[in-house]
Symmetry: C2
Subunit: 238 residues, 2 copies
């Protein structure tokens, strides 16, 4: 868990208009050797995107204003689009995408219930933070896919997320309500553990625990650092 | 309510791969003179599409299988896309689309609660049937919009709905369960009244009740006939 010590101490973050997944800072050690087969990878990442879509849709349904509904709509649309593009990749290989996806639904549904949150703000914080971690994770994992499917998956994940709107809604609410800010900071620390467990469950272990851990540890450390940066951006203390 | 008597008695329905809104059979008398101003029209139709998206998203969340979730996803995506395209039309005219939409949310939210249905199948039947009626209605109403905005709105409404998947799910379930079929037939007859009330509320009456009714009556008669055809397609007796 001390992988961050190996990173350069000075980092200049240039603000970007449309923040994307930033994996350029990830350590050279990657998860490539721990990537599962193509179909389980696609089934899992497809269902994760559907879960993100469902949470965002649910948040749209519960949004207090039309303006909030509208702000969240593009993020829901983008997650749905990613889901459909992953399903299309599955369909290029087999006729029944749902059979490839089905094994992953109970675990991810359980996870969703754990990180759903007690109200609309916790739900938004959760979907913002957890989808960030999971997009990063599946982007890293894609490096180990054979042929051109890896880059294609990265391109799908790297497309616009629409989640800057969630950032704006949360940052504004947190600025105006310090009690909410401290509650969401706690919640943001709470969801990361469950999310990393989902990530771990997607990894294909080689059977050599020592070398597996050597690969996983620096990547997870960097995933936690990226999570901390997302917390910072919302104005939350990680 | 006897407008159908004026239609030719023999009609050959050619099956279409992707059923779209079919307004070619609508009477020549149209709603053009009863069309509201551009912004109220756009605000209302934008929120109707958002409501369709929210109902479909909710149905995806409640779907019993991944296959059903996936089958419904394109319909949700299409409704969201239509919502966003209408919002873009509003934004070409004013900076705050949510203020244009807001006046219509209480009425449509109340309507949604009325036609939501008691379970997943009633919800699906409702969204299939009511979105069909409302798409037809707003397509007809668009004829009275000034300039090129009318055809642009028709093009948005006439895009792929993705709702043939709902048709398939319902038809299959109804074929396998006559009790469900008779329950949904009753439900399908039930939702049409509330939907026509929403349509009526969107009409800009001229203040001459007699001529207003002369315009509305044949159009509503044909909208009911189109609803009956959608019921037939599902295997339901209207």
């Amino acid at each position: 868990m001390f992988g961050f010590l190996r990173r350069p101490k000075v980092r200049i973050d240039i603000p970007r208009l449309k923040p994307r997944i930033d994996t350029s800072s990830y350590p050279k050690v990657n998860l490539a050797e721990l990537t599962p087969e193509v179909l389980p990878y696609l089934g899992q990442v497809a269902y994760v995107q559907l879960a993100i879509f469902e949470e965002l849709s649910d948040a749209i349904g519960r949004a207090p204003t039309v303006a909030a509904k509208q702000a969240l709509a593009p993020a829901a649309g983008q997650a749905l689009d990613k889901h459909e593009r992953f399903v299309a990749e599955i369909r290029r290989r087999v006729d029944t995408p749902s059979e490839i996806i089905a094994p992953f639904t109970p675990g991810i549904d359980r996870y969703r219930a754990l990180v759903k949150g007690a109200d609309w703000y916790e739900q938004l914080a959760s979907v913002y933070l957890t989808s960030g971690i999971l997009d990063d994770f599946f982007t890293l994992l894609a490096a180990g896919l054979p042929g051109d499917i890896g880059p294609r998956c990265v391109a799908i994940l790297d497309a616009e997320t629409g989640r800057d709107a969630i950032d704006r809604i949360l940052s504004e609410a947190i600025t105006g309500d310090p009690v909410l800010g401290s509650r969401l900071a706690m919640w943001g620390r709470r969801v990361v553990g469950d999310t990393l467990l989902v990530a771990r469950s997607a990894i294909h272990l080689t059977g050599n625990p020592e070398s597996d851990e050597q690969r996983i540890e620096p990547v997870f450390t960097e995933m936690i650092a990226a999570h901390t940066r997302r917390m910072d951006r919302l104005g939350l203390t990680a």
